[in-house]
Protein backbone atom coordinates (compact mmCIF):
# COMPACT_ATOMS: atom_id res chain seq x y z
CA UNK A 1 0.00 0.00 0.00
CA UNK A 2 2.64 2.48 1.13
CA UNK A 3 5.05 1.35 -1.58
CA UNK A 4 2.38 1.80 -4.20
CA UNK A 5 1.68 5.27 -2.87
CA UNK A 6 5.30 6.26 -3.13
CA UNK A 7 5.85 4.72 -6.53
CA UNK A 8 2.77 6.04 -8.21
CA UNK A 9 4.19 9.51 -8.75
CA UNK A 10 7.36 8.44 -10.49
CA UNK A 11 7.63 9.20 -14.17
CA UNK A 12 10.44 9.30 -16.70
CA UNK A 13 11.87 12.57 -15.44
CA UNK A 14 11.94 11.17 -11.94
CA UNK A 15 13.81 8.15 -13.25
CA UNK A 16 16.50 10.31 -14.79
CA UNK A 17 16.86 12.44 -11.70
CA UNK A 18 16.97 9.54 -9.27
CA UNK A 19 19.57 7.81 -11.45
CA UNK A 20 21.73 10.93 -11.43
CA UNK A 21 21.42 11.10 -7.66
CA UNK A 22 22.33 7.43 -7.31
CA UNK A 23 25.41 7.94 -9.48
CA UNK A 24 26.41 10.94 -7.39
CA UNK A 25 25.96 8.96 -4.18
CA UNK A 26 28.46 6.40 -5.44
CA UNK A 27 30.85 8.48 -7.55
CA UNK A 28 31.47 11.34 -5.13
CA UNK A 29 32.57 9.13 -2.20
CA UNK A 30 34.82 7.13 -4.51
CA UNK A 31 36.37 10.22 -6.08
CA UNK A 32 36.81 12.01 -2.77
CA UNK A 33 38.11 9.15 -0.66
CA UNK A 34 39.32 6.52 -3.09
CA UNK A 35 41.67 8.59 -5.25
CA UNK A 36 45.04 10.15 -4.60
CA UNK A 37 44.93 13.94 -3.97
CA UNK A 38 46.94 14.60 -7.13
CA UNK A 39 44.73 12.47 -9.36
CA UNK A 40 42.65 14.39 -11.92
CA UNK A 41 39.65 12.44 -10.63
CA UNK A 42 40.12 13.58 -7.08
CA UNK A 43 37.45 15.73 -5.42
CA UNK A 44 38.61 17.99 -2.61
CA UNK A 45 36.53 18.21 0.58
CA UNK A 46 35.83 21.77 -0.44
CA UNK A 47 34.23 20.61 -3.69
CA UNK A 48 32.26 17.92 -1.89
CA UNK A 49 30.89 20.48 0.55
CA UNK A 50 30.06 22.79 -2.36
CA UNK A 51 28.15 20.05 -4.16
CA UNK A 52 26.39 19.20 -0.92
CA UNK A 53 25.40 22.84 -0.55
CA UNK A 54 23.90 22.88 -4.06
CA UNK A 55 21.84 19.82 -3.26
CA UNK A 56 20.57 21.41 -0.02
CA UNK A 57 19.44 24.36 -2.10
CA UNK A 58 17.86 21.92 -4.54
CA UNK A 59 15.80 20.46 -1.69
CA UNK A 60 14.79 23.96 -0.63
CA UNK A 61 13.79 24.75 -4.22
CA UNK A 62 11.81 21.51 -4.38
CA UNK A 63 9.91 22.43 -1.23
CA UNK A 64 9.22 25.90 -2.57
CA UNK A 65 7.96 24.49 -5.86
CA UNK A 66 5.54 22.26 -3.99
CA UNK A 67 3.68 25.36 -2.79
CA UNK A 68 4.36 27.77 -5.64
CA UNK A 69 4.23 25.45 -8.62
CA UNK A 70 1.40 23.26 -7.41
CA UNK A 71 -0.70 25.41 -5.06
CA UNK A 72 0.11 28.87 -6.42
CA UNK A 73 1.39 30.24 -3.10
CA UNK A 74 4.43 32.37 -3.88
CA UNK A 75 6.35 32.25 -0.62
CA UNK A 76 8.88 35.03 -0.18
CA UNK A 77 9.80 33.62 3.21
CA UNK A 78 10.88 30.06 2.62
CA UNK A 79 14.37 30.87 3.79
CA UNK A 80 12.77 31.27 7.23
CA UNK A 81 11.91 27.57 7.39
CA UNK A 82 15.27 26.61 5.91
CA UNK A 83 17.12 28.73 8.45
CA UNK A 84 15.05 27.53 11.40
CA UNK A 85 15.92 23.96 10.46
CA UNK A 86 19.52 25.12 10.19
CA UNK A 87 19.43 26.68 13.64
CA UNK A 88 17.97 23.51 15.15
CA UNK A 89 20.89 21.55 13.71
CA UNK A 90 23.31 24.33 14.67
CA UNK A 91 22.13 24.11 18.28
CA UNK A 92 22.92 20.41 18.32
CA UNK A 93 26.36 21.07 16.86
CA UNK A 94 26.97 23.83 19.43
CA UNK A 95 26.15 21.49 22.27
CA UNK A 96 28.54 18.92 20.79
CA UNK A 97 31.42 21.39 21.16
CA UNK A 98 31.18 20.89 24.91
CA UNK A 99 34.17 22.15 26.83
CA UNK A 100 36.30 22.54 23.70
CA UNK A 101 35.03 26.10 23.25
CA UNK A 102 37.16 29.16 23.85
CA UNK A 103 35.87 29.52 27.41
CA UNK A 104 35.90 25.79 28.05
CA UNK A 105 32.41 25.75 29.53
CA UNK A 106 30.96 22.25 29.15
CA UNK A 107 27.32 23.36 29.20
CA UNK A 108 27.18 26.82 27.76
CA UNK A 109 28.15 27.77 24.21
CA UNK A 110 30.84 30.44 24.05
CA UNK A 111 28.54 33.30 23.16
CA UNK A 112 26.46 32.68 26.27
CA UNK A 113 29.54 32.72 28.48
CA UNK A 114 30.52 35.93 26.75
CA UNK A 115 27.12 37.43 27.61
CA UNK A 116 27.61 36.35 31.25
CA UNK A 117 24.75 33.91 31.13
CA UNK A 118 24.93 31.35 33.89
CA UNK A 119 22.62 28.66 32.67
CA UNK A 120 21.25 27.24 29.48
CA UNK A 121 17.92 28.80 28.38
CA UNK A 122 15.03 26.31 28.50
CA UNK A 123 14.72 26.13 24.72
CA UNK A 124 18.27 24.88 24.42
CA UNK A 125 17.55 21.81 26.50
CA UNK A 126 17.47 18.52 24.67
CA UNK A 127 19.60 19.73 21.80
CA UNK A 128 22.55 17.73 23.05
CA UNK A 129 20.68 14.67 21.73
CA UNK A 130 20.81 14.13 17.99
CA UNK A 131 17.39 12.51 17.79
CA UNK A 132 15.83 15.48 19.55
CA UNK A 133 17.50 17.95 17.22
CA UNK A 134 16.48 15.85 14.23
CA UNK A 135 12.84 16.06 15.28
CA UNK A 136 13.09 19.79 15.95
CA UNK A 137 14.59 20.31 12.48
CA UNK A 138 11.19 19.44 11.06
CA UNK A 139 8.94 20.30 13.97
CA UNK A 140 9.94 23.92 14.46
CA UNK A 141 9.55 25.04 10.82
CA UNK A 142 6.49 22.80 10.54
CA UNK A 143 4.78 24.33 13.56
CA UNK A 144 5.58 27.87 12.50
CA UNK A 145 4.25 27.15 9.01
CA UNK A 146 1.17 25.49 10.45
CA UNK A 147 0.35 28.41 12.73
CA UNK A 148 1.08 31.00 10.06
CA UNK A 149 -0.80 29.09 7.37
CA UNK A 150 -3.74 28.32 9.61
CA UNK A 151 -4.40 32.01 10.14
CA UNK A 152 -3.49 33.14 6.64
CA UNK A 153 -5.43 30.54 4.67
CA UNK A 154 -8.47 30.66 6.92
CA UNK A 155 -8.82 34.39 6.39
CA UNK A 156 -8.17 33.89 2.68
CA UNK A 157 -5.06 35.96 2.33
CA UNK A 158 -3.91 35.15 -1.18
CA UNK A 159 -1.69 36.28 -4.02
CA UNK A 160 0.69 39.15 -3.47
CA UNK A 161 -0.70 39.87 -0.02
CA UNK A 162 0.35 36.44 1.11
CA UNK A 163 3.74 36.90 -0.55
CA UNK A 164 4.25 40.19 1.24
CA UNK A 165 3.37 38.86 4.67
CA UNK A 166 5.62 35.82 4.21
CA UNK A 167 8.34 38.34 3.51
CA UNK A 168 7.40 40.25 6.65
CA UNK A 169 7.59 36.98 8.59
CA UNK A 170 11.14 36.18 7.56
CA UNK A 171 12.16 39.82 8.05
CA UNK A 172 10.77 39.79 11.59
CA UNK A 173 12.65 36.56 12.32
CA UNK A 174 15.85 38.07 10.98
CA UNK A 175 15.54 41.09 13.25
CA UNK A 176 14.73 38.82 16.17
CA UNK A 177 17.69 36.51 15.64
CA UNK A 178 20.03 39.48 15.34
CA UNK A 179 19.24 40.28 18.96
CA UNK A 180 21.69 38.85 21.46
CA UNK A 181 18.92 38.39 24.04
CA UNK A 182 17.30 35.75 21.86
CA UNK A 183 20.03 33.33 22.83
CA UNK A 184 20.99 32.24 19.34
CA UNK A 185 24.35 33.95 19.10
CA UNK A 186 23.08 37.27 17.70
CA UNK A 187 24.98 38.66 14.72
CA UNK A 188 27.55 35.89 14.61
CA UNK A 189 25.08 33.06 14.73
CA UNK A 190 26.30 29.58 15.53
CA UNK A 191 29.67 28.39 14.31
CA UNK A 192 33.00 26.74 15.21
CA UNK A 193 31.40 23.31 15.16
CA UNK A 194 33.63 20.40 16.12
CA UNK A 195 31.84 17.14 15.52
CA UNK A 196 28.59 15.55 14.46
CA UNK A 197 27.46 12.20 15.89
CA UNK A 198 31.00 11.80 17.19
CA UNK A 199 32.67 12.33 13.80
CA UNK A 200 35.10 15.18 13.20
CA UNK A 201 33.12 17.66 11.15
CA UNK A 202 36.19 18.76 9.14
CA UNK A 203 37.23 15.24 8.13
CA UNK A 204 36.91 14.28 4.48
CA UNK A 205 34.98 11.14 5.37
CA UNK A 206 32.45 13.10 7.42
CA UNK A 207 31.99 15.55 4.57
CA UNK A 208 31.36 12.67 2.19
CA UNK A 209 28.92 11.16 4.68
CA UNK A 210 27.04 14.45 4.89
CA UNK A 211 26.97 14.64 1.11
CA UNK A 212 25.50 11.16 0.80
CA UNK A 213 22.94 12.04 3.48
CA UNK A 214 21.97 15.10 1.44
CA UNK A 215 21.61 13.04 -1.73
CA UNK A 216 19.39 10.63 0.18
CA UNK A 217 17.30 13.44 1.66
CA UNK A 218 16.82 14.97 -1.78
CA UNK A 219 15.82 11.62 -3.26
CA UNK A 220 13.32 10.95 -0.46
CA UNK A 221 11.97 14.50 -0.74
CA UNK A 222 11.58 14.09 -4.47
CA UNK A 223 9.79 10.76 -4.23
CA UNK A 224 7.52 12.09 -1.51
CA UNK A 225 6.71 15.23 -3.48
CA UNK A 226 6.01 13.18 -6.62
CA UNK A 227 3.69 10.90 -4.72
CA UNK A 228 1.81 13.82 -3.18
CA UNK A 229 1.50 15.60 -6.49
CA UNK A 230 0.28 12.50 -8.33
CA UNK A 231 -2.33 11.63 -5.70
CA UNK A 232 -5.86 12.92 -5.77
CA UNK A 233 -4.73 15.37 -3.11
CA UNK A 234 -2.22 16.69 -5.62
CA UNK A 235 -4.98 17.12 -8.17
CA UNK A 236 -6.98 19.09 -5.62
CA UNK A 237 -3.92 21.27 -5.00
CA UNK A 238 -3.54 22.04 -8.70
CA UNK A 239 -7.24 22.76 -8.88
CA UNK A 240 -6.84 25.15 -5.93
CA UNK A 241 -4.02 26.87 -7.77
CA UNK A 242 -6.11 27.37 -10.91
CA UNK A 243 -9.59 28.05 -9.50
CA UNK A 244 -9.71 28.02 -5.73
CA UNK A 245 -13.28 29.14 -5.23
CA UNK A 246 -14.56 26.46 -7.62
CA UNK A 247 -12.84 23.85 -5.47
CA UNK A 248 -14.62 25.16 -2.40
CA UNK A 249 -17.97 24.80 -4.14
CA UNK A 250 -17.10 21.17 -4.78
CA UNK A 251 -16.97 20.70 -1.01
CA UNK A 252 -13.21 20.69 -0.42
CA UNK A 253 -11.91 22.69 2.54
CA UNK A 254 -9.21 24.33 0.48
CA UNK A 255 -7.62 25.90 3.58
CA UNK A 256 -6.73 22.46 4.89
CA UNK A 257 -5.26 21.37 1.57
CA UNK A 258 -3.12 24.47 1.38
CA UNK A 259 -2.13 24.02 5.00
CA UNK A 260 -1.07 20.42 4.32
CA UNK A 261 1.13 21.35 1.38
CA UNK A 262 2.48 24.45 3.13
CA UNK A 263 3.45 22.60 6.30
CA UNK A 264 4.96 19.68 4.41
CA UNK A 265 6.95 22.13 2.34
CA UNK A 266 8.22 23.93 5.45
CA UNK A 267 9.36 20.62 6.97
CA UNK A 268 11.27 19.79 3.78
CA UNK A 269 12.89 23.23 3.82
CA UNK A 270 13.85 22.65 7.45
CA UNK A 271 15.61 19.40 6.56
CA UNK A 272 17.45 21.18 3.76
CA UNK A 273 18.63 23.82 6.23
CA UNK A 274 19.72 21.19 8.73
CA UNK A 275 21.90 19.48 6.15
CA UNK A 276 23.25 22.81 4.94
CA UNK A 277 24.62 23.95 8.30
CA UNK A 278 27.20 21.21 9.01
CA UNK A 279 28.46 21.45 5.42
CA UNK A 280 29.03 25.21 5.39
CA UNK A 281 29.98 25.30 9.06
CA UNK A 282 27.91 28.32 10.11
CA UNK A 283 24.38 29.57 10.47
CA UNK A 284 23.60 33.23 11.12
CA UNK A 285 20.58 35.54 10.94
CA UNK A 286 21.45 36.88 7.49
CA UNK A 287 20.13 33.59 6.09
CA UNK A 288 16.71 34.88 7.12
CA UNK A 289 17.02 37.92 4.88
CA UNK A 290 14.15 38.36 2.42
CA UNK A 291 16.73 38.44 -0.38
CA UNK A 292 17.72 34.81 0.15
CA UNK A 293 14.08 33.73 0.02
CA UNK A 294 13.56 35.53 -3.26
CA UNK A 295 16.77 34.04 -4.63
CA UNK A 296 15.31 30.59 -3.97
CA UNK A 297 12.24 31.60 -5.96
CA UNK A 298 14.38 32.30 -9.01
CA UNK A 299 15.93 28.83 -8.84
CA UNK A 300 12.44 27.40 -9.14
CA UNK A 301 11.49 29.81 -11.91
CA UNK A 302 14.64 29.05 -13.91
CA UNK A 303 14.19 25.30 -13.70
CA UNK A 304 10.47 25.42 -14.30
CA UNK A 305 7.84 25.62 -11.62
CA UNK A 306 5.13 23.06 -11.55
CA UNK A 307 7.65 20.40 -12.53
CA UNK A 308 9.47 18.70 -9.70
CA UNK A 309 12.72 18.11 -11.56
CA UNK A 310 12.88 21.75 -12.70
CA UNK A 311 13.61 23.36 -9.34
CA UNK A 312 16.34 20.80 -8.59
CA UNK A 313 17.98 21.61 -11.92
CA UNK A 314 17.44 25.35 -11.45
CA UNK A 315 18.93 25.43 -7.96
CA UNK A 316 22.07 23.59 -9.05
CA UNK A 317 22.53 25.66 -12.22
CA UNK A 318 21.98 29.07 -10.64
CA UNK A 319 24.19 28.30 -7.66
CA UNK A 320 26.90 26.93 -9.88
CA UNK A 321 26.67 30.19 -11.82
CA UNK A 322 26.83 32.12 -8.55
CA UNK A 323 29.96 30.29 -7.42
CA UNK A 324 31.57 30.96 -10.77
CA UNK A 325 30.59 34.63 -11.03
CA UNK A 326 31.36 35.62 -7.46
CA UNK A 327 34.85 34.18 -7.86
CA UNK A 328 35.63 35.32 -11.41
CA UNK A 329 33.57 38.48 -11.95
CA UNK A 330 32.13 39.57 -8.59
CA UNK A 331 30.99 42.92 -9.97
CA UNK A 332 28.82 41.21 -12.53
CA UNK A 333 27.04 38.68 -10.31
CA UNK A 334 24.17 40.94 -9.24
CA UNK A 335 23.69 42.08 -12.84
CA UNK A 336 23.56 38.45 -13.93
CA UNK A 337 21.15 37.48 -11.16
CA UNK A 338 18.98 40.54 -11.74
CA UNK A 339 18.96 39.90 -15.46
CA UNK A 340 18.01 36.29 -14.83
CA UNK A 341 14.94 37.40 -12.88
CA UNK A 342 13.83 39.66 -15.71
CA UNK A 343 14.61 37.27 -18.57
CA UNK A 344 12.99 34.25 -16.98
CA UNK A 345 9.77 36.07 -16.13
CA UNK A 346 9.58 37.68 -19.56
CA UNK A 347 10.73 34.90 -21.84
CA UNK A 348 10.75 31.66 -19.89
CA UNK A 349 7.60 31.70 -17.74
CA UNK A 350 7.73 27.92 -17.49
CA UNK A 351 11.46 27.62 -17.02
CA UNK A 352 13.96 25.40 -18.78
CA UNK A 353 11.92 22.23 -18.46
CA UNK A 354 8.76 24.01 -19.58
CA UNK A 355 10.60 25.30 -22.64
CA UNK A 356 11.90 21.84 -23.40
CA UNK A 357 8.39 20.41 -23.15
CA UNK A 358 7.02 23.13 -25.39
CA UNK A 359 9.66 22.48 -28.02
CA UNK A 360 9.02 18.74 -27.88
CA UNK A 361 5.30 18.70 -28.51
CA UNK A 362 4.21 21.64 -30.53
CA UNK A 363 0.71 20.40 -31.08
CA UNK A 364 -1.61 23.35 -31.72
CA UNK A 365 -4.17 22.12 -29.21
CA UNK A 366 -1.53 21.66 -26.51
CA UNK A 367 -0.10 25.06 -27.24
CA UNK A 368 -3.35 26.82 -26.37
CA UNK A 369 -3.42 25.07 -23.03
CA UNK A 370 0.10 25.80 -22.01
CA UNK A 371 -0.24 29.41 -23.06
CA UNK A 372 -2.27 29.97 -19.92
CA UNK A 373 0.06 30.42 -16.99
CA UNK A 374 -1.13 29.04 -13.70
CA UNK A 375 -1.67 32.19 -11.73
CA UNK A 376 -3.51 34.17 -14.32
CA UNK A 377 -6.39 34.47 -11.94
CA UNK A 378 -4.76 37.60 -10.67
CA UNK A 379 -4.34 39.19 -7.27
Amino acid sequence: MLTRFFLMGLDKKAGVLLTVLAVLAVAVPVMALGTAPDSPWHLSTHTVALLGKYLCFALLALSLDLVWGFVGILSLGHAAFFTLGGYAMGMYLMRQIGSRGMYGNADLPDFMVFLNWTELPWYWHGFDQFWFAAIMVMLVPGLLAFAFGWFAFRSRVTGVYLSIITQALTFALMLAFFRNDMGFGGNNGLTDFKEILGFDIQAASTRVGLFVATVAALAVGYILASAVVASKLGKVLIAVRDAESRVRFLGYETDRYKLFAWTLSACMAGVAGALYVPQVGIINPSEFSPASSIEAVIWVAVGGRGTLAGPVLGAVLVNFGKSYFTAALPELWLFALGGLFVLVTLFLPKGILGLAAQLRDRLPARATVSAKPADQKGV
Binding site: M1, F5, V228, S231, K232, L233, K235, V236, I238, A239, D242, A243, S245, R246, V247, R248, F249, L250, G251, Y252, E253, T254, R256, Y257, F260, A365, R366, T368, V369, K372, A374
Partner: protein
Protein backbone atom coordinates in the same frame (compact mmCIF):
# COMPACT_ATOMS: atom_id res chain seq x y z
CA UNK B 1 -46.85 23.92 4.26
CA UNK B 2 -44.34 23.83 7.08
CA UNK B 3 -40.69 24.83 6.78
CA UNK B 4 -39.58 21.25 7.45
CA UNK B 5 -40.97 20.05 4.15
CA UNK B 6 -39.04 22.57 2.08
CA UNK B 7 -35.63 21.92 0.57
CA UNK B 8 -34.54 25.56 0.54
CA UNK B 9 -36.18 28.30 2.53
CA UNK B 10 -35.12 31.94 2.24
CA UNK B 11 -36.85 34.53 4.38
CA UNK B 12 -36.17 38.26 4.51
CA UNK B 13 -32.63 37.97 3.19
CA UNK B 14 -30.87 41.30 2.66
CA UNK B 15 -27.35 42.08 1.47
CA UNK B 16 -25.83 45.43 0.74
CA UNK B 17 -22.47 46.43 -0.72
CA UNK B 18 -21.35 49.94 0.21
CA UNK B 19 -24.90 51.20 0.41
CA UNK B 20 -26.13 49.33 -2.65
CA UNK B 21 -28.85 46.84 -1.73
CA UNK B 22 -28.19 43.75 -3.80
CA UNK B 23 -30.86 41.73 -2.02
CA UNK B 24 -33.82 43.37 -0.32
CA UNK B 25 -35.79 41.14 2.06
CA UNK B 26 -35.82 38.32 -0.45
CA UNK B 27 -38.05 35.38 0.34
CA UNK B 28 -38.13 32.20 -1.71
CA UNK B 29 -39.12 28.57 -1.15
CA UNK B 30 -37.96 25.56 -3.18
CA UNK B 31 -39.52 22.18 -2.58
CA UNK B 32 -37.78 18.81 -2.91
CA UNK B 33 -37.57 17.70 -6.51
CA UNK B 34 -38.71 21.06 -7.81
CA UNK B 35 -37.15 22.88 -10.72
CA UNK B 36 -37.39 26.64 -10.65
CA UNK B 37 -36.37 29.24 -13.21
CA UNK B 38 -35.27 32.64 -11.97
CA UNK B 39 -35.36 35.57 -14.34
CA UNK B 40 -34.83 39.27 -13.90
CA UNK B 41 -33.00 42.25 -15.32
CA UNK B 42 -29.30 42.84 -14.72
CA UNK B 43 -28.61 43.80 -11.14
CA UNK B 44 -31.80 42.16 -9.91
CA UNK B 45 -29.71 40.12 -7.46
CA UNK B 46 -29.75 36.74 -9.18
CA UNK B 47 -26.06 36.00 -8.80
CA UNK B 48 -25.98 37.52 -5.31
CA UNK B 49 -28.80 35.19 -4.34
CA UNK B 50 -26.69 32.22 -5.43
CA UNK B 51 -23.69 33.64 -3.57
CA UNK B 52 -25.75 33.91 -0.40
CA UNK B 53 -27.10 30.36 -0.67
CA UNK B 54 -23.69 28.83 -1.33
CA UNK B 55 -21.91 30.76 1.42
CA UNK B 56 -19.78 33.01 -0.78
CA UNK B 57 -21.51 36.09 0.59
CA UNK B 58 -22.92 36.43 4.05
CA UNK B 59 -26.37 38.06 4.30
CA UNK B 60 -26.75 41.09 6.56
CA UNK B 61 -30.12 39.86 7.80
CA UNK B 62 -32.50 37.04 7.05
CA UNK B 63 -32.82 33.27 7.36
CA UNK B 64 -31.72 30.59 4.93
CA UNK B 65 -32.65 27.03 5.85
CA UNK B 66 -31.70 23.90 3.95
CA UNK B 67 -34.01 20.91 4.33
CA UNK B 68 -35.92 22.96 6.86
CA UNK B 69 -33.29 22.66 9.58
CA UNK B 70 -29.71 23.58 8.60
CA UNK B 71 -28.96 27.28 8.84
CA UNK B 72 -26.75 28.09 5.85
CA UNK B 73 -25.89 31.63 6.89
CA UNK B 74 -23.26 30.46 9.39
CA UNK B 75 -21.54 27.90 7.17
CA UNK B 76 -18.61 28.22 4.80
CA UNK B 77 -18.72 27.18 1.15
CA UNK B 78 -17.29 23.66 1.47
CA UNK B 79 -19.64 22.77 4.32
CA UNK B 80 -22.62 23.95 2.30
CA UNK B 81 -21.41 22.04 -0.76
CA UNK B 82 -21.10 18.90 1.34
CA UNK B 83 -24.67 19.30 2.57
CA UNK B 84 -25.67 18.70 -1.03
CA UNK B 85 -25.79 22.03 -2.80
CA UNK B 86 -23.96 22.19 -6.10
CA UNK B 87 -23.32 25.27 -8.17
CA UNK B 88 -22.54 25.98 -11.79
CA UNK B 89 -21.09 29.37 -12.52
CA UNK B 90 -22.15 31.88 -15.12
CA UNK B 91 -18.75 31.72 -16.81
CA UNK B 92 -17.84 28.06 -17.12
CA UNK B 93 -15.17 27.31 -14.54
CA UNK B 94 -13.52 23.96 -14.96
CA UNK B 95 -9.99 23.01 -13.97
CA UNK B 96 -8.27 23.77 -17.23
CA UNK B 97 -4.99 22.00 -16.52
CA UNK B 98 -6.74 18.78 -15.51
CA UNK B 99 -8.17 16.25 -17.96
CA UNK B 100 -11.90 15.88 -18.37
CA UNK B 101 -11.66 12.62 -16.45
CA UNK B 102 -9.79 14.23 -13.55
CA UNK B 103 -12.32 17.06 -13.43
CA UNK B 104 -15.08 14.52 -12.94
CA UNK B 105 -13.05 12.45 -10.49
CA UNK B 106 -12.44 15.52 -8.35
CA UNK B 107 -16.16 16.28 -8.34
CA UNK B 108 -17.25 12.72 -7.62
CA UNK B 109 -18.97 12.14 -4.31
CA UNK B 110 -16.16 10.84 -2.08
CA UNK B 111 -14.50 11.77 1.21
CA UNK B 112 -13.22 15.35 1.04
CA UNK B 113 -10.57 15.35 3.79
CA UNK B 114 -6.96 15.85 2.74
CA UNK B 115 -5.61 12.60 4.19
CA UNK B 116 -8.42 10.63 2.54
CA UNK B 117 -7.66 12.14 -0.84
CA UNK B 118 -3.95 11.54 -0.36
CA UNK B 119 -4.53 7.77 -0.28
CA UNK B 120 -7.56 7.69 -2.58
CA UNK B 121 -7.69 5.46 -5.59
CA UNK B 122 -10.77 5.15 -7.78
CA UNK B 123 -12.94 2.09 -7.14
CA UNK B 124 -14.72 0.14 -9.85
CA UNK B 125 -17.99 1.91 -9.00
CA UNK B 126 -16.31 5.30 -9.22
CA UNK B 127 -15.02 4.52 -12.67
CA UNK B 128 -18.38 3.26 -13.82
CA UNK B 129 -20.06 6.42 -12.56
CA UNK B 130 -17.56 8.63 -14.36
CA UNK B 131 -18.05 6.66 -17.58
CA UNK B 132 -21.78 7.11 -17.18
CA UNK B 133 -21.48 10.86 -16.77
CA UNK B 134 -19.11 11.04 -19.75
CA UNK B 135 -21.81 9.38 -21.78
CA UNK B 136 -24.58 11.66 -20.55
CA UNK B 137 -22.54 14.76 -21.29
CA UNK B 138 -21.18 13.31 -24.57
CA UNK B 139 -17.61 13.95 -23.48
CA UNK B 140 -16.35 10.34 -23.72
CA UNK B 141 -14.07 11.04 -26.71
CA UNK B 142 -12.56 13.96 -24.83
CA UNK B 143 -11.88 12.17 -21.56
CA UNK B 144 -8.07 12.48 -21.64
CA UNK B 145 -7.94 15.99 -23.04
CA UNK B 146 -7.16 18.92 -20.73
CA UNK B 147 -10.39 20.72 -19.91
CA UNK B 148 -8.78 23.94 -21.10
CA UNK B 149 -8.83 22.64 -24.67
CA UNK B 150 -12.61 22.13 -24.76
CA UNK B 151 -14.97 24.38 -26.67
CA UNK B 152 -17.19 26.77 -24.76
CA UNK B 153 -20.24 24.51 -25.04
CA UNK B 154 -18.25 21.47 -24.00
CA UNK B 155 -17.02 23.30 -20.93
CA UNK B 156 -20.60 24.13 -19.99
CA UNK B 157 -21.49 20.48 -20.34
CA UNK B 158 -18.44 19.36 -18.38
CA UNK B 159 -19.48 21.64 -15.58
CA UNK B 160 -22.96 20.18 -15.58
CA UNK B 161 -21.31 16.77 -15.58
CA UNK B 162 -19.29 17.81 -12.55
CA UNK B 163 -22.52 18.79 -10.83
CA UNK B 164 -23.91 15.36 -11.61
CA UNK B 165 -20.81 13.69 -10.23
CA UNK B 166 -21.25 15.69 -7.03
CA UNK B 167 -24.77 14.24 -6.79
CA UNK B 168 -26.21 17.20 -4.86
CA UNK B 169 -29.75 17.54 -3.58
CA UNK B 170 -29.99 21.04 -4.96
CA UNK B 171 -28.32 22.39 -8.09
CA UNK B 172 -27.85 26.07 -8.67
CA UNK B 173 -27.29 26.68 -12.34
CA UNK B 174 -26.31 30.15 -13.50
CA UNK B 175 -27.00 30.87 -17.20
CA UNK B 176 -26.25 27.38 -18.48
CA UNK B 177 -26.88 28.20 -22.13
CA UNK B 178 -25.08 31.53 -22.45
CA UNK B 179 -23.07 31.43 -25.66
CA UNK B 180 -24.56 28.15 -26.86
CA UNK B 181 -26.00 27.36 -30.27
CA UNK B 182 -29.72 26.66 -30.57
CA UNK B 183 -29.13 22.93 -30.85
CA UNK B 184 -26.91 22.91 -27.78
CA UNK B 185 -29.48 24.97 -25.90
CA UNK B 186 -32.16 22.43 -26.63
CA UNK B 187 -29.93 19.54 -25.54
CA UNK B 188 -29.08 21.36 -22.34
CA UNK B 189 -32.75 21.88 -21.58
CA UNK B 190 -33.34 18.14 -21.97
CA UNK B 191 -30.38 17.34 -19.79
CA UNK B 192 -31.58 19.63 -17.02
CA UNK B 193 -35.08 18.22 -17.20
CA UNK B 194 -33.65 14.72 -16.80
CA UNK B 195 -31.72 15.81 -13.76
CA UNK B 196 -34.73 17.54 -12.24
CA UNK B 197 -36.41 14.22 -11.60
CA UNK B 198 -33.91 13.25 -8.92
CA UNK B 199 -32.70 16.65 -7.76
CA UNK B 200 -34.03 20.11 -7.12
CA UNK B 201 -32.72 22.68 -9.56
CA UNK B 202 -32.66 26.46 -9.60
CA UNK B 203 -31.84 27.84 -13.03
CA UNK B 204 -30.98 31.48 -13.57
CA UNK B 205 -31.37 32.41 -17.21
CA UNK B 206 -31.97 35.31 -19.55
CA UNK B 207 -32.91 33.23 -22.56
CA UNK B 208 -36.73 33.21 -22.67
CA UNK B 209 -36.83 30.48 -25.31
CA UNK B 210 -34.84 28.26 -22.98
CA UNK B 211 -37.06 29.08 -19.99
CA UNK B 212 -40.13 28.27 -22.04
CA UNK B 213 -38.45 25.01 -23.06
CA UNK B 214 -38.01 24.09 -19.39
CA UNK B 215 -41.66 24.72 -18.72
CA UNK B 216 -41.39 25.19 -14.97
CA UNK B 217 -42.46 27.68 -12.32
CA UNK B 218 -40.78 31.06 -12.81
CA UNK B 219 -39.71 33.64 -10.23
CA UNK B 220 -39.04 37.18 -11.38
CA UNK B 221 -36.49 39.12 -9.31
CA UNK B 222 -36.31 42.88 -9.33
CA UNK B 223 -34.09 45.09 -7.20
CA UNK B 224 -33.28 42.26 -4.85
CA UNK B 225 -36.75 40.97 -4.12
CA UNK B 226 -39.43 38.84 -5.76
CA UNK B 227 -41.60 40.75 -8.19
CA UNK B 228 -43.79 37.93 -9.42
CA UNK B 229 -44.03 34.16 -9.30
CA UNK B 230 -45.95 31.60 -11.36
CA UNK B 231 -45.91 29.97 -14.77
CA UNK B 232 -44.09 31.78 -17.53
CA UNK B 233 -47.36 32.80 -19.13
CA UNK B 234 -48.70 34.22 -15.86
CA UNK B 235 -45.64 36.29 -15.13
CA UNK B 236 -45.37 37.40 -18.75
CA UNK B 237 -48.83 38.89 -18.44
CA UNK B 238 -47.98 40.69 -15.20
CA UNK B 239 -47.96 44.43 -15.86
CA UNK B 240 -45.14 45.18 -13.41
CA UNK B 241 -42.97 42.49 -14.97
CA UNK B 242 -43.57 43.92 -18.41
CA UNK B 243 -42.65 47.38 -17.16
CA UNK B 244 -39.36 46.50 -15.53
CA UNK B 245 -38.16 43.64 -17.64
CA UNK B 246 -39.94 42.07 -20.53
CA UNK B 247 -41.50 45.20 -22.01
CA UNK B 248 -38.21 46.84 -22.76
Amino acid sequence: MSTEDTLLYLDGVSVSFDGFRALNRLSLVIEPGEMRAIIGPNGAGKTTMMDVITGKTRPDTGTILFEGRTDLTSLREPAIANLGIGRKFQRPTVFEMHTVWDNLELSLKAPRRPLKTLTYSATREDRARIEEILDITRLSPRRDRPAGSLSHGEKQWLEIGMLLAQDPKLLLVDEPVAGMTDAETEQTAHLLKDIAGKHSVIVVEHDMVFVRELGVKVTVLHEGSVLAEGSLDTVSANKQVIDVYLGR
